[in-house]
Symmetry: C2
Subunit: 220 residues, 2 copies
C-alpha cells in the first residue's frame, strides 16, 4: 500500500513546517500531534525530531513562517496612515486565516515574527510624525491593540469552526443572551446587543486603528 511505503525524497525542516501548518489550519492547535505529522509525512518520530527540537519549536517556526509571508508585502512608500492601516489589516486577515497564530505570537516575544511586526509598525509611526521619545510607547500600544483584537477575533472564528453553528446563528444567540440581561445592571451590554448582529469585525477593527492613530496624532 502506498500509505505505508517509506518516503524516498529527503525530509527537511521546511517540509515539516509546511505539513504542520496544514494540520494547524485544518484543526487548530490541538490537531498538531506528532502522530498526525508522521502519518501525514509517512515517516517516523525520529525523522521529525532530527530536523526539529520539539513540538514548541515547530509551532514557533510555523508562526514565523506565516508572519514573514504577510510582512514582506508591506509597502513603505505609501502614505504612512494608509500603510499602517494596511499592515494592521494584513495581520488581522492573516490571523483570521490561521487562528492558531494569534495565541502563538504572545508566547515568545523575541522571535523573528514579532520583531518584523515591531519594526514595520515603529518605522511607519516614525514616518507618521510621532516624536522620537514617544515612538516606543506608541509602537508597543499599536502592536498590542492589533494582536489583541486579531487574537480575540481568531478565537471567535475557532469557536465557530468547532461548534459547526454558522456565524449569524452564533451572533444571534449571543445577542439574545445579552439583551436578556437586566438593563439597570448592564446598560451598556444590553444596548450593544442590538448592534452585535449587523457589525462587521474588520470594520470594527479598522475603527479601532483609526481611534489609535487619532490619539497618536495628538502627540505630534
Amino acid at each position: 500500500m502506498a500509505k505505508t511505503t517509506r518516503r524516498t525524497d529527503g525530509l527537511s525542516k521546511e517540509l515539516i513546517v509546511k505539513a504542520a501548518t496544514d494540520l494547524l489550519d485544518g484543526g487548530g492547535e490541538a490537531a498538531l500531534t506528532l502522530r498526525a505529522l508522521t502519518t501525514h509525512l509517512s515517516t517516523g518520530y525520529g525523522a521529525i525530531y532530527h530536523h526539529v527540537a520539539n513540538r514548541g519549536d515547530l509551532l514557533a517556526a510555523a508562526t514565523d513562517d506565516v508572519i514573514a509571508r504577510v510582512m514582506t508585502g508591506v509597502v513603505i512608500d505609501a502614505d504612512p496612515r494608509d500603510a499602517l492601516r494596511a499592515v494592521a489589516l494584513g495581520l488581522f486577515d492573516t490571523i483570521d486565516a490561521h487562528p492558531w497564530v494569534g495565541a502563538q505570537l504572545s508566547r515568545e516575544p523575541w522571535r523573528p515574527a514579532l520583531l518584523e511586526i515591531y519594526e514595520s509598525v515603529g518605522r511607519l509611526l516614525d514616518a507618521f510624525g510621532v516624536p522620537e521619545q514617544a515612538l516606543v510607547d506608541a509602537a508597543g500600544a499599536l502592536v498590542h491593540y492589533i494582536l489583541g483584537a486579531a487574537g480575540q477575533n481568531a478565537a471567535n472564528s475557532q469557536i465557530l469552526a468547532d461548534s459547526e453553528t454558522d456565524r449569524s446563528d452564533f451572533l444571534s444567540a449571543v445577542a439574545a443572551r445579552w439583551s436578556r440581561l437586566d438593563p439597570d445592571q448592564y446598560p451598556f451590554v444590553h444596548k450593544a446587543a442590538t448592534q452585535l448582529r449587523e457589525h462587521d469585525d474588520r470594520e470594527q477593527f479598522l475603527a479601532g486603528v483609526d481611534i489609535f492613530l487619532a490619539g497618536v496624532a495628538t502627540l505630534r
Copy 2:
C-alpha cells in the same frame, strides 16, 4: 498517613476552583492537571467530575472568579478618565499576578468575565462623552488593547518565571540581541534596544491607554 486519608468535609465547585487557582498561580496552565488536583484536595477523579464538567470548565470558572474580584472594585463616580485608567491598570495587574488568565480570556467571549469588562469600559466611555454611535467600536478597541497588552506582559512574566533568569538579565539579553541587528534593515528596533532596559511595563501600558483616550476624545 494524613495525606491518604479521605477528606471528611464535603467538596464543592468553589473549593475546587480555589485549588485550581492555586495550582495555576503556582506553575501556569500546565500545572493544572486532574492528578495534581486530586492529591491537592485528597480526593478522587469522580469527586471532581461530579462538581465540574471538565478541565476547560474549571479553567473558565477560575478565570471568571479572578476577573470578578478585580471588577467589583471599580469606582464609578470618579472622573471617567481616572476610572478608565484605574480599570485598565487593575486588569493589567491582575493578569500580571495570574498570567494564565490572559490566554484564557480570549477563549470564551460570552463568559461573565468578559461581559463585566465590556460593561465597565463601555459605561465609562459613555460617561467620558463618546457619542453613542461610536461607543461599541471604542469599547471594543480599548478592551482589545487592554487584554492584548496585559496578555503579552503576562506571557513575558511566565517566560521569566520558567527560565529562572531574572528580569534585568533577560531584558539585557534581548536588548543586546536587538542592538546587534543591522541598523539599515532594522532602524526602529535597533534604536529601541537602548530604551528597553530602563522601560517600565506598567508606565508603557498606561501611556497606551492615554494615547487611546486622546484618540477617543477626538470623537466627542
